[in-house]
């Protein structure tokens, strides 16, 4: 039986983790992710989980301890945001290349500078090439559900890659909203026991983790990581379908909202998708053919599937919440345009940068964006890379 609740995104994450009951959780606090280890450490103190909780002295240490524990054979995780993630940079790559399926609860926050505590995606997008699976969420419900599904995807024998479960700092992490929780037993059974095939504390098997990779073998290890990342799509779809049978909530690699007959669409990640949906509903009432595609998995990037979903769209607006300084747009823009190009899709595109450092995006902003996409569809030429909500 589902339990009706109202929780913040951070509470939802902590409760999912309590239900999962992982083995090792080293953590160092940073706004806005601090509450996740804070709530969780209370669960530890209250004896609700038997997790080894390790307060460490930095994020460099938290990720090192998490991946060390994972290599030893323990289901592990840590949590962080922004500059905290920047300090674990080296270990992010180590975790991925050592094929350690640990979890990072990432609460997205802008990177300095200027120093800022609010949401954008510059932290996780900066780590997009580190070899982690990246999963994003629109709502507190989706945050919770992603946590329940994450280990199943990461630990699968065809994958064995670390997974970053991302949510928007403050916008979902500190906002209380209605949601439904699964029963503890349901989550426990769904996630299952972690039984790694190879691990350091296995007395029957000697192994080394993280040895030097000579040039004769280094490239093969990267190729193997890519193969594992390719396998994520199939595994994730299976896990999401199984999750739907249990919860009634069906997820995909991405979400299509009123996209089937849309001529103008935006591609977007995270909480702003909810605001965009309200904007779209209003425009649909006026008979306008608008829709959206919400990214859930950014790594792997389901490019072929996205191109197919956008195949009938005339003009696509791609919305990024992280600057890349290519001067051509953000990371989602680059990936989406590459996917469209490969599929031979000649839809016109406009890239929009929004929400940096917590800059709010409103329903009205989306109306303006759709107005412009329609004008482009009617032949108007516009700047192909624009900032939304910039001070005049």
């Amino acid at each position: 039986m589902a339990k009706r609740e109202r929780l913040s995104g951070n509470e939802a994450a902590a409760i999912a983790l309590r239900q999962i009951n992982p083995d090792v959780f080293p953590a160092f606090p940073i706004t806005p992710s601090t509450e996740i280890p804070e709530y969780f450490s209370k669960f530890v103190a209250d004896g609700l989980v038997d997790t080894e909780f390790i307060p460490v002295e930095s994020e460099h240490s938290s990720m090192s301890a998490a991946l060390g524990a994972e290599a030893a054979g323990a289901r592990s995780l840590t949590a962080t945001s922004s500059c905290g993630m920047a300090l674990m940079w080296e270990e992010l790559y180590v975790a991925a290349s050592d094929r350690l399926p640990l979890l990072l609860a990432l609460v997205n926050r802008a990177l300095s500078g200027p120093i800022n505590i609010n949401c954008d995606h510059s932290d996780s997008m900066g780590a997009r090439d580190a070899g982690w699976i990246q999963l994003y969420a629109e709502s507190n419900q989706e945050v919770y559900d992603n946590f329940v599904m994450a280990y199943r995807i990461a630990e699968h024998k065809d994958v064995r890659l670390p997974i970053m479960v991302c949510q928007d700092g403050f916008i979902t992490s500190h906002a209380v909203q209605n949601m439904e929780l699964l029963e503890d037993e349901e989550v426990k059974n769904f996630v299952g026991e972690y039984e790694p095939e190879h691990y350091l504390l296995n007395p029957k098997e000697s192994m080394a983790v993280g040895p030097y990779g000579v040039s004769n073998y280094y490239m093969e290890s990267k190729f193997a990581q890519v193969q594992a990342m390719k396998n994520v799509k199939k595994v994730a779809v299976e896990v999401m379908d199984e999750f739907a049978k249990m919860s009634g909530r069906q997820y995909g690699l991405f979400e299509e909202y009123r996209l089937k007959d849309a001529e103008y669409a935006i591609v977007i990640i995270g909480s702003a998708a909810g605001t965009a949906k309200d904007a779209i509903d209003r425009l649909r009432e006026e008979g306008r053919k608008v829709g959206l595609l919400k990214i859930r998995f950014f790594r792997p990037f389901p490019g072929e599937e996205i191109a197919a979903a956008l195949s009938k769209v005339k003009v696509v607006g791609v919305m990024d919440r992280a600057e890349s300084f290519s001067t051509q747009g953000g990371p989602l823009g680059s990936e989406t345009l590459a996917a469209l190009h490969r599929a031979g899709n000649t839809a016109k595109t406009v890239e929009y940068m929004y929400g940096l450092g917590g800059r709010d995006i409103k329903v009205e902003d989306f109306w303006q964006i759709f107005d412009e996409l329609e004008e482009v569809g009617n032949g108007k030429t516009v700047d192909g890379y624009q900032y939304i909500g910039l001070r005049k």
Binding site: T31, V176, Q177, G274
Partner: protein
């Protein structure tokens, strides 16, 4: 959908009050949102907190620009923040003050909707012996917005206080008295 904007100062409990309002509305079967807008985090800095209450799932994640109600927890903010910005004509502004309405009106930037006042300091001092404006303000908001039926509100809050103050039950009765008194003191 009811949209509420709270204006407080860091440390006064505007966020707690908004969370409690969301709790109460949630328990009556509503869909709710409660979320803060943070600037630099420090005691005394102006803080804005938002509530949405609806009968259906709430997807929008932006701040609130055309609220139905504006709640001013600290009246010194009247001098520095336009508390009626975007406020709907058929809504209301609720100000924590002991001053007569005539003295508040000049700070409302010509707002034509309703003004309510509550002396949360008086209520708090008489019932709790200390100044915690959030509890009386919460009651004032329930009274004016009718977001929740008053009897249900008091019942739910009693349960909520019993949980929140499990380790100091002596303050439960004072908080409930603050709510009851505030419901009567709103002008």
């Amino acid at each position: 959908m009811i949209e509420i904007r709270w204006h407080g100062r860091g440390g006064q409990g505007a966020k707690t009050a908004a969370m409690l309002l969301a709790d109460v509305a949630f328990f009556t079967g509503k869909y709710v949102q409660a979320f803060p807008e943070y600037g630099p985090e420090r005691m005394g800095a102006p803080v804005t907190v938002y509530n949405r209450i609806d009968d259906k799932n709430i997807r929008v994640h932006s701040n609130i620009y055309q609220p139905d109600y504006s709640i001013v927890v600290d009246e010194s903010l009247l001098e520095v923040v336009n508390v009626t910005a975007g406020l709907k004509r058929d809504g209301a502004v609720i100000v924590n003050t002991n001053r007569p309405k005539e003295e508040i009106i000049p700070h409302l930037h010509g707002y034509e909707g309703e003004l309510y006042t509550i002396d949360a300091r008086k209520v708090s001092m008489e019932t709790l012996g200390k100044y915690f404006p959030n509890t009386p303000m919460l009651a004032a908001v329930v009274k004016v917005t009718k977001a929740v039926d008053e009897e249900t509100f008091l019942k739910e809050m009693e349960g909520s206080f019993q949980k929140k103050f499990a380790t100091k039950p002596e303050v439960i009765e004072g908080n409930l008295a603050a709510l009851r008194m505030a419901l009567k003191e709103v002008k």
